[in-house]
């Protein structure tokens, strides 16, 4: 039996680890997470059938963003700004060099 890779892309693994770490740290309980995630899946699934792959992780990401925005720990505007800082860092870092956030 060849073991199946649990995550298709690295960001899915990071998202998973981030969510579990937050729950471990007491930011939310797993049942609360499951209820919120289930609601997102239901909403997405009403629009089209989800295949359990990339769309599953997209729903996961959306759920976490909303939870953290509501909790005030990662407000949407802060997360959005940070996303643009990362984009700028990638675009200004020569290929092959480690990408770091600028000041």
């Amino acid at each position: 039996m060849t073991p199946e890779r649990p995550f298709a892309e690295p960001w899915q693994a990071e998202l998973f680890a981030l969510t579990v770490a937050l729950s471990d740290a007491g930011e939310f309980t797993w049942p609360d997470w499951a209820a919120a995630f289930g609601a997102t899946l239901k909403r997405h699934g009403a629009a089209r059938e989800l295949d359990g792959g990339a769309d599953y992780w997209a729903a996961w990401l959306e759920t976490l963003e909303v939870l953290l925005d509501l909790a005030g720990t990662a407000p949407a505007d802060e997360a959005h700004e940070m996303r643009h800082r990362w984009e700028a860092a990638y675009l200004s870092t020569p290929h092959g060099k480690p990408v770091r956030l600028g000041g």
Partner: protein, 203 residues
């Protein structure tokens, strides 16, 4: 596509969701709400250490050892602990026994609750709308798509996982396995046979 440095003088931009994950992580790490070392440990655990080989050890032990089997159905967590298997999303496991009269099958209709310490991260099909919706409604049809046809007389019982309770299907020990040791037995126990969408391999 071959990579060409002249076309990409800067670093390749990660995908949109990858950037959003990085952003969340940076915001939370900066606030001290998440420890990167804890994240790394979680990744290592679920990418490399935890998987169906652990559930297979439990099933093989249950096949080989009657006392362990009794404990597994009475208190699955105590039985798992004897093999050193504990962890997140496995705090309350219920083992369900396949018999000639009943075949068990597990789903999570809410999202994707799954016994991580025993089976690792669920496969994509377990998380798909198709499986989640149909496992309860038409389990025999779903089983047929997995290549499993059960005798008419064997009824199918579907267990809906929750964030609190996770299920482990203990399949029937295959014929012709008398005298096999636990390691050899464990090799017959597939992931799907512990979800109930498959049967163990023949020796």
């Amino acid at each position: 596509m071959p990579h060409d440095d002249h076309d990409h003088p800067h670093s390749l931009l990660p995908s949109e969701p990858a950037l959003r994950v990085k952003a969340l992580e940076s915001v939370l790490v900066a606030k001290g709400l998440v420890d990167p070392a804890a994240m790394a440990a979680i990744l290592e655990t679920y990418e490399t250490r935890v998987g169906p080989h652990l559930g297979a050890r439990v099933v093989a032990r249950a096949w080989a050892d009657l006392n362990f089997r009794a404990l597994l159905f009475e208190n699955a967590n105590a039985a798992m602990a004897e093999l050193g298997i504990t962890g997140r999303q496995g705090e309350h496991v219920v083992a369900v026994e396949n018999t000639p009269g009943t075949h068990n099958m597990v789903v999570c209709t809410l999202c994707s609750c799954y016994p991580w310490p025993l089976l690792g991260i669920p496969p994509a099909w377990y998380k798909s709308d198709a499986y989640r919706a149909r496992a309860v409604r038409e389990p025999r049809k779903v089983l047929a798509e997995f290549g499993v046809t059960l005798p008419e007389a064997q009824k199918v019982r579907v267990w809906d996982s929750t964030a609190e309770v996770r299920y482990l299907v203990v399949p029937m020990r295959p014929e012709g396995t008398d005298g096999m040791d636990e390691a050899a037995l464990a090799a017959l126990v597939t992931r799907d046979s512990m979800i109930g969408t498959g049967l163990p391999l023949a020796p």
